[in-house]
Symmetry: none
Subunit: 214 residues, 4 copies
DNA sequence: AATGAATGAGAATTCATTCAT
DNA sequence: AATGAATGAATTCTCATTCAT
């Protein structure tokens, strides 16, 4: 009996923790950090405000975990592609596509994760994730350079450029607004993938333009 | 005498207005929107809180102007290059370089302008600017396409990619941290420029990789 | 136990809500709307400022409820008399007396309710109440007209006159100042009632005086 | 020259003082005490804010004078009627009519003066005026009582009732809203006058109703 | 463990009044 | 005398966090 009760409690605890995380994430996904109040999380989770603090010591830590949970999922997807078979070219394209496709499904969340800072403490987690995601792309680029299909360049910077390129095209102000149309989404993803590949692809001719600077 | 008095007063007023704007900008540059409180602006400007409201009707309007001031300067630089002489290739490279060089000088500010949302009212100004900046690049890309030196692609998306690429490389978490070294900065700018050009440059071979999606 | 706990909590909540309302009302009763600050209400209620906002979403809503609470009580008294038995004459006199007697007990409050505007939002509630109170008297006058004991006249205007007459006599600057003496209060009420009845009573002789106007 | 200059200055000073008073009054007349800010008065008068303080030591004193100026004009009108020839009956009716007619022309101002308190200091002036106005009516009623055409009653209370009656009917919430129609205004004034006369007129039959009190 | 009421440190904004020029 | 910029106390409202029950 005691065993079962413990089990039940543990399970309920787990439920609560998971529910809090899920509600916190949903809140961000819907209204950005702006609407991510602890009291709202608690209410949505069917708990008292104070209870949230039994599971997370502070708002910052709660959202740091939300961030890490959501983003590690993204990173895993990208990482799996990077670790999988295929040419670096195919894998880079696949990774960009995979990320873009997922981000498009939850743009408000993607935006919050990618572009919308908030509390400085939470922000650190955001930047840490963004860095890790970037490193997956750096890795892919380095692979491609070894294969000789990618330009010789600073892979770290090129990685940042790739990440920046697809993120901006996905959630930046030049990004298309609504997507009722699945085809339009598909087309956007195609285009983004092409741009990212072009960014790193080996270029036959030398890079000798007259440069103008500020 | 009356003239000089008027002049002095105007100049003091201008001083205050300018000083408020500068302090507001500096505050954002140092601590992001988070620390951009009216009271702090006032204190730093050596004024009383209420005085700020003589010059700006609300916090949102003050920061909208900070934003517009800072960013219109950037856009002008980019726009001047776009309007100037030279091939699209040279101009795109020049624009990326110019923007990058300036952004590197004030990265925290660049970050606030580029990546850090805040009050929704202020944010509108931020996104408007970002869109305008993006459009300058879209224009450049369209020029290059007409000249035949850039790939046939959706110029709008490519523009977003270019903007995202250099911004991320400049202020994203993969961007190098400190810059005591002017050479390092120069090298980063070069690298970023190369990446952006590659992104839009005409590619000789067709784009037929096996695609993997999620 | 759970029951008692719930009960205690509810009762404490009710206490607070009621206490806030009472303190808000007392504040108005003592110093008019002028001194009706949320912070003072909270302090007097032994609560933190923010706590008031748990119970009332804004100052306007708090005072709208103060108003409605206080004044609906008054209107109910008057309304009950109007709905009760008796001649219109007796009922009108009763209503005036009842209102006057109650108002005398809390003249500053009566004044705030009757004569003292404030925040436009709160004011709406004040005017709504005042109108409803007036309508009770309009109703009474119409009854009396049907009975033939009141003059034929615009009942709405006469109602306003009756309400204005007793209010002014109660809380206006011609009203006697202090009331240590219960008899004096009684005498004032009698006198007011007589005046109000005279105002609407049927007059035997025609109303044909030479008129002088401005 | 010095003489003329002095004269001009004095005249300009007088102009300023008068203009400030007028603008202050107009402001109250348009928007009530709510919008009666010193800065607005100054701007409307074509003066600097600080200049207002050369003529009036404080906002309260400025508005006390506005009040006294406006209201002494009203009181004079009523007083002139009271001092003139005619029966008390005719004079009371005339006074009520005169006041009502003037108040109808500037209802917003009348409301502010009659019903809308503000700063406690200004309020004192308001109440002083209201008292003086009331006393004119008390005087009239006492005259009528001596003539035997008015009821024997406490003239002070009856005066308050008369004042309250016409004020409420003029600016209270039961008062009609707009007046495009001069006839409607005339009719309202007639009705108010009848009510006020009824209030004090001698009543033939005794006053013996069964009384109900709270 | 859970509750959720209470807290109170801020943050933005207003406006009568002052005072150097 | 006039100016009007500067002042800063006062006020409303928010929300992460605590803690008695």
């Amino acid at each position: 009996m005691s065993y079962r009760r413990t089990e039940a409690v543990v399970s309920r605890l787990e439920d609560n923790r998971a529910r809090i995380l899920r509600c916190a994430r949903d809140l961000v996904a819907e209204g950005g950090w702006q609407s991510a109040h602890i009291a709202t999380v608690a209410r949505n989770a069917g708990l008292a405000t104070g209870t949230v603090y039994r599971y997370f010591p502070s708002k910052a830590e709660l959202y740091a975990e939300v961030l890490s949970q959501v983003s590690s999922r993204e990173r895993d997807v990208v990482g799996a592609i990077a670790d999988g078979d295929g040419t670096a070219l195919a894998k880079l394209e696949g990774a960009v596509r995979a990320f873009a496709a997922r981000a498009l499904r939850g743009r408000r969340l993607a935006y919050a994760l990618i572009g919308e800072p908030c509390d400085p403490e939470i922000d650190q987690a955001r930047l840490r994730w963004r860095e890790k995601l970037g490193q997956e792309f750096v890795r892919l680029i380095q692979d491609g350079q070894r294969e000789g299909v990618f330009r010789a360049c600073d892979a770290r910077i090129a990685g940042a450029c790739v990440v920046g390129a697809f993120m901006e095209a996905l959630v930046g102000p030049l990004a298309p607004e609504g997507f009722d149309d699945a085809d339009a989404a598909e087309e956007l993803i195609d285009e983004i993938a092409r741009n990212c590949l072009a960014l790193v692809a080996a270029i036959p001719k030398p890079n000798t333009y007259p440069i103008r600077s500020d």
